[in-house]
Symmetry: C2
Subunit: 355 residues, 2 copies
Amino acid sequence: MKIAVLPGDGIGTEIVAEAVKVLRALDLKLEMESALVGGAAYEAHGHPLPESTLKLAKEADAILFGAVGDWKYDKLDRPLRPEQAILGLRKHLGLFANFRPAICYEQLTHASSLKPELVAGLDILIIRELTGDIYFGQPRGRRTAVDGHFPGADEAFDTMRYSRPEIERIARVAFEAARKRNKKVTSVDKANVLETFQFWKDVVTDVHKDYQDVELEHMYVDNAAMQLVKKPKAFDVIVTGNMFGDILSDEASMLTGSIGMLPSASLNSSNQGLYEPSHGSAPDIAGKGVANPLATILSAAMMLRFSLNQEAAAQRIEAAVQKVLAQGLRTPDIYSEGTTKVGTAQMGDAVVKAL
Amino acid sequence: MKIAVLPGDGIGTEIVAEAVKVLRALDLKLEMESALVGGAAYEAHGHPLPESTLKLAKEADAILFGAVGDWKYDKLDRPLRPEQAILGLRKHLGLFANFRPAICYEQLTHASSLKPELVAGLDILIIRELTGDIYFGQPRGRRTAVDGHFPGADEAFDTMRYSRPEIERIARVAFEAARKRNKKVTSVDKANVLETFQFWKDVVTDVHKDYQDVELEHMYVDNAAMQLVKKPKAFDVIVTGNMFGDILSDEASMLTGSIGMLPSASLNSSNQGLYEPSHGSAPDIAGKGVANPLATILSAAMMLRFSLNQEAAAQRIEAAVQKVLAQGLRTPDIYSEGTTKVGTAQMGDAVVKAL
Ligand SMILES: CC(C)[C@H](C(=O)O)[C@@H](O)C(=O)O
Ligand SMILES: CC(C)[C@H](C(=O)O)[C@@H](O)C(=O)O
């Protein structure tokens, strides 16, 4: 079982180091190889996703990813910016199914912006399509407008698009996931305005015929953004496109108040996957040893489950994380009075000890 | 001063009736003429925006709009669905600047999903571009994919686009608005992925040169969706495109917990405007006399301010609304123990009395 370890930028190196520590403590035959990605790779090789890194990622069974990005790369041309690494990995490995759980841990309910009764026990799963939509649609660029409000003016444009098989496969992933949970899928669209999402809605409805044991609900994206705030526990599985999923999954994870705890998985059709925390590279706290490594450690657990077929080991990690929370250990992002504040490495050590 | 009154569907007729009542009580020379729109117009004339309604709207100085839509029209072809009326009005009248305040009323702070300390005193203004973006971009439709992941498959597509003058004019609206408030504009984009929004960011940055007294901040849309939950009071004016604005303005209004209180205005370059509550047609409670008319009444106040140049009258209405809240009158959507529950018409009457 080969794992490509891509720590990236900012706190990426610190949090991935802890997840690697936990994986090593498991007594599994895991071959891990590291490579640079994002800004770190740009500095060393002039590109955020060097050929060698992409090759390593392709050959691995799974990728453990930290985070990429830093303000200092904002002025680079788009193709050289750190985010291109993550977009490139998604595209080249065909990682179309993104799993983003939004879970509110019992001990951290108070950390949410929302009233405790609205989020206590929250457990929703957002499934975001990750290789289609306006993220990759062609054509895109700048040109002179030929119609619209200001013909003759400079304009920029992008293409949103989804094909039937792209929608079908992500819908299946969502229905399958819901079967193992509370059997409800909310498909989020904007069918009242967009051709792409009228088609999305139609195809999801078709696929649903094979999953009559699962309830399917359709919701407009603007309404979904509201309902997440109003009554988040009404959701079970949310499935949506790349752009809407980007927005809603971040909104949902922030509802929990502890985004430092939330893992994610991005899978392709052969269950090869990229695993990364839901949060970003947080350059402001990088190098200080205070970042929360738990989202990355829980991402490693997802990796064991989905790509490496090691369910028992995944559960061991998840139980260990529960245990350190129960012990009252907290990194600063989830700290509250009466608990014990620890740093990144101490938290990783505690998880290893709890295994 | 001529007002086109378009009540629409669901609770639209009930809430607009109360706003008209309030306007009539003002002793201004207002000529009001009603017409059907949305599902009601479809039933009567076979089209959600009949020629006669559009003509009335074009000739008026302002439009007082209720709400459109009902599940029963979901099966109609898109061009005949109620929402097309609102899209058509925006397009034909060039209503490019949508103002959506998200205000948390002191007496209603407890109604928010968010903890009181996060929303008490909240007062943000979302300015959404309303006639461009992927809402109206051409081409759009269905076709056979020629490239992408599944060449040969059926696909649907839309075009996102913004031209320089479209971005410039909405940016100016935002900077001007911020000047009268807390002098901060957050421009929301997805410049890390979309050509359209890299251009958006560039143009907004250019326009900012004329408004150096206003602080400009750029934020990715996914991060904005998070920050609205985490720290909504950090925003003053948010300016963004049509699609992102649709999502974020609804999210923001739900943060207040009292979407039944939030007005909106959509203006064109000659200050002709459409005024409507931020909430929808709520077919589930239509005809029961329980809908909250205050958002529509406050929209009428915005109409007096922006399109009819009657600032004093606008303030009278706003003060009257404050007064009925202080009196403890509440429609069911904002009711809480210790206050007095009233219906739609009673609430309207109370505002008239408080004028
Ligand atoms: C960095 C960016 C390109 C990326 C995205 O928009 O997909 C990020 O926001 C994410 O959600 O992983
Ligand atoms: C009804 C729909 C077309 C509309 C939109 O998406 O603009 C609505 O959601 C709104 O925000 O006014």
